[in-house]
Symmetry: C2
Subunit: 83 residues, 2 copies
């Protein structure tokens, strides 16, 4: 069994109006030191080990979790040892 | 200057219908090895160093980025060295 942590972010150069809105909220609350905000998505999956976990996780990211036109993703794997 | 990477997740025990829907989509695409999906949020901030960055980032998370009733957050800091 694996825990898979997936991070999806907008590609560099893609505008992020949601992040811009958050940054403006921060400035209006006097957090002027915040220079930029980029928003992404984060997923924690629990996946049974089928022996080809990297291939399967990449497929899932490409097909469901990220939009490869404007987003990129990375993930980390952690093996879960049953007690 | 710091890059701050913030991860916001639902507290354990809080139902995650969005994650459940994603898991069901995965099963309908024959990714039956996925046992659970939890959805979170991910933010990348660029913040000027004001000498109290941990205090300020914790405030931002509590006030804007996470809902402390149902969510928890963690973050990592990375100092950006200007070229």
């Amino acid at each position: 069994m694996y825990k898979v942590y997936v991070y999806v972010t907008l590609k560099e150069g893609v505008l992020d109006p949601q992040g811009k809105a958050i940054q403006e909220s921060m400035h209006s609350l006097a957090y002027d030191e915040v220079e930029s905000v980029r928003v992404g998505k984060y997923f924690e999956l629990t996946v049974k080990d089928t022996g080809e976990i990297d291939k399967r996780v990449n497929e899932l990211c490409d097909r469901l979790l990220a939009n490869p036109v404007i987003e990129e993703y990375r993930y980390t794997l952690e093996e879960v040892v049953p007690n």
